[in-house]
């Protein structure tokens, strides 16, 4: 009993003495990196871990943050969703990191959310996602549906004159929600329900013959058919192979993909895919000086044959904004940094400036690229900055919701009833 009493008083004393110091900064500043280094997601996420290490190193070369060295704390959640929650707790309580950069899949983010909110952590999530979520403790630096899916669909409607849509996706939350939003959006645009074909396939699906011939058959009523693909990961290999085998050119049935980037194309022979499309906020082929320097630094570090991609840029922007916010707040305290984040601006690698909005999303330009023979994308369309929207305007239940953590201090605010539905996020 007496020992316990002693330790508590000691802890309290320690706490009391460190508290004022905490308000400023305790060196080194720890940056948690929560990306899978093993398991199925390793291939995508390892790249992001390397990106974070590179960014931290670059920042340290510039003298760190507020005179402190940055230290990257890397853990491996091994593509195991419950493990993400466990590792997040470990980062926040054992390693006591000041910020976490991490996650790729939506389900891993949903797994981490309760922990981050409980312990008041700070997470930067770099991947395009389905929206319909807003957490006080998460900054979403990837694209929301209105920053990727909607502009790509507009492009299909206006530039390619597509009248009939095949929405093909892997059966999980991102395609489900995105397709749901798109269906509703297309109906608003006057596309009949019969002209929207939706199909879901399992992860790693390989037998695409039936689906591809179904898509071809859609053309039978004389409308131009376009495919919007949210097919994930290696399933794309079989899909594009079958597409090529069926002799479908991008002129007949264009395919726009939301999950196929430079990294994914490196597993494919792209000669038969030239002209098909992808929509992102970043392509390696972007022609700016900042991007040239970024690609060169990446290749120098990782090897000549490595490519850069969209989530890397998201981390690049997110990390730099966080650094600026810490310096502005003169503290690594989560709430102080969070407030300082609003309105942060940082130049995109594709030109223009990204702005952090009060709904924790970025305003970023939307790019549409055509696949080229060398596995790169030719950027054929680039919009102005589009502000990310946490709750889509195209689903009736979500249209009434907005997220504003700055003034309303609510991530799920019902504008009709003018009430805050909930402070915590839905997970």
């Amino acid at each position: 009993m007496s020992t316990r009493f002693l330790t508590t008083t000691a802890a309290a004393a320690l706490f009391a003495t460190t508290l004022p110091a905490m308000a400023e900064v305790s060196c080194p500043i720890k940056v948690g990196v929560l990306h899978s280094l093993s398991g199925t997601m390793a291939i995508s996420e390892t790249t992001l871990k390397d990106t974070m290490e590179m960014l931290v190193e670059q920042q340290n070369e510039k003298g760190g943050v507020m005179g402190c060295e940055l230290e990257a704390v890397v853990v491996d959640p091994a593509s195991d969703w419950p493990l993400f929650a466990e590792k997040a707790r470990e980062l926040l309580t054992v390693h006591e990191v000041d910020v976490i950069f991490g996650n790729w899949t939506s389900v891993s983010r949903k797994s981490v959310l309760p922990v981050i909110e409980e312990l008041n952590g700070l997470l930067f999530y770099p991947v395009q996602y389905e929206g319909e979520e807003s957490s006080k403790n998460v900054f979403y630096t990837g694209a929301a549906p209105n920053q990727q899916a909607i502009p790509a669909t507009d492009y299909f409607l206006e530039e390619l004159g597509v009248e009939k849509f095949a929405l093909l996706g892997t059966d999980y939350v991102y395609p489900r929600t995105t397709n749901n939003i798109l269906e509703s959006y297309l109906k608003d645009k006057g596309i009949a329900e019969d002209d929207i074909f939706v199909n879901y396939t399992p992860f790693g699906h390989s037998d695409w013959s039936k689906i591809v011939s179904d898509v071809v058959a859609l053309g039978a009523d004389g409308k131009k058919v376009g495919v919007i693909s949210t097919i994930n990961g290696d399933a794309n290999v079989g899909f594009y192979k079958e597409l090529a085998a069926a002799g479908i050119s991008a002129d007949d049935i264009p395919v726009v993909a939301f999950s196929v980037g430079e990294e994914e194309l490196s597993g494919l022979d792209t000669t038969n895919l030239v002209g098909h499309l992808a929509a992102w906020n970043y392509f390696q082929s972007a022609d700016t000086e900042a991007n040239e320097a970024w690609v060169a630094a990446w290749k120098a570090r990782m090897g000549e044959d490595r490519v850069t991609n969209d989530p890397m840029e998201a981390h690049y922007i997110g990390f730099n904004m966080w650094v600026n916010a810490v310096e502005q707040a003169e503290s690594t305290d989560v709430d102080a940094v969070r407030v300082a984040m609003y309105g942060q601006e940082f130049p995109n690698l594709t030109g223009g400036t990204a702005v952090m909005l009060p709904n924790h999303h970025l305003a970023k330009p939307v790019l549409i690229g055509e696949i080229q023979e060398d596995g790169q994308f030719d950027i054929i369309s680039q919009t102005e900055e589009v502000p990310g929207d946490a709750w889509t305007d195209f689903l009736p239940e979500s249209a009434v919701l907005i997220s504003d953590w700055k003034d309303l201090e609510c991530g799920m605010y019902n504008t009709q009833t003018e009430t805050c539905v909930q402070i915590k996020s839905n997970y």
């Binding site: 091994a78 054992v94 939506s106 389900v107 999980y172 929600t177």
Partner: protein, 420 residues
Amino acid sequence: MSETSLTGSHTRTPLALRFPSVLIFLAVLGLFTLGVTILSEGFGIGVISTSFVKTLGKTLCLCLVALAMDLVWGYCGILSLGHMAFFGLGGYAIGMWLMYERTRLIVVDSLVASELPPTAQEISDGIATQIFGVVGASEFPPVWAFAHSLPIQLAFVVLIPGLFALIFGWLAFRSRVTGVYLSILTQAMTLALSLYLFQNDSGLRGNNGLSGLQNLPSLDAVPQATVSLWFFWGSAFALGAGYLLCAWIVSGKFGSVIRAIRDDEARVRFLGYPVDAFKLFIFTLTAVIAGIAGALYYPQAGIINPTEIAPIASIYLAVWVAIGGRGRLYGAVIGAAFVSLLSTWFTGGQAPDINLGFYTIQWVNWWTVLLGLSFVAVTLFAPKGLGGLVDLIVDRTSPNRHGADLGPDPGALREKEAEK
């Protein structure tokens, strides 16, 4: 073949005394629980972090399901590759209530402020939108019909895996599917179930599964450090109770019969025992135990999704039991605890890399290889598993079973014969 010759005692002495291992096990478990409590953040001095308490609590649940696996495989000879599916079903059953209730509280709170009192339909719609919004739906699927009721969902924890196992087992045992056929069939069942749950149409949120389960409804104020200990105690209690139950089952005449089924099913059948009924009972009972273990596990893990049910998980379960030592209850517990904690250690990046000069072995990448190969080695060279070490310490020779089988499989004996 009377019961006494097998148990070696004429009078009914208490179970714990007949099997000192039970007593030892319960004592160790009790001490362990006490130790963790003292060292924890919630009630003790805070040496063990909350996340590690959760890991330990989850490990206890895994030990419990390993116990079930040992009963069905090590004692009854049914290599089921589907028990993790029952484990997952238990988790889903409790997860539905946790998720429903937590969301309901949020929705009711938010509707209190509105001008008109909400109708039942509006509340239900609100909950559905919150739960299924992420997977692009806003209506309750029929499987959620009872999600509002804790008692019913708790009953489902037991009933759903139990009924599932009962029907599947009845079909399988009735048509005399045995041995590797049965294993493959259970694996197919598991695959079918996980594929089914992967679909969004299944109504259980597809690939996303149920999440945020660690937040107990209306107990928001209780810190996780405390909640984690509650569950740790619950898991420890369940493991202790499960161990006693299993020990009791395998100790009596019933235990002799199921061991006999394992060793030579046909003979037992000819002796007039309803073999199918015995097998069905054990299969169903272990499924129920697995379901309970799952219901305790997933609120600690925080999220359940179909990947947890994939066939590979059930195979790992068999691996734990085999490494721990089949046919002895503590073996299963040791195996599950040892392998799963070791696995956490290796994949957690704590294990030091080995530099071979030309190549650096990173355990994050090579741990699975090590596990796979060590598994082959255990099967080949140490069929008794880690539990066999206990025999060395106790210096116990194999009991004379008057020609009855020694190992869990018929083959073990034949090998002995061949050696002679």
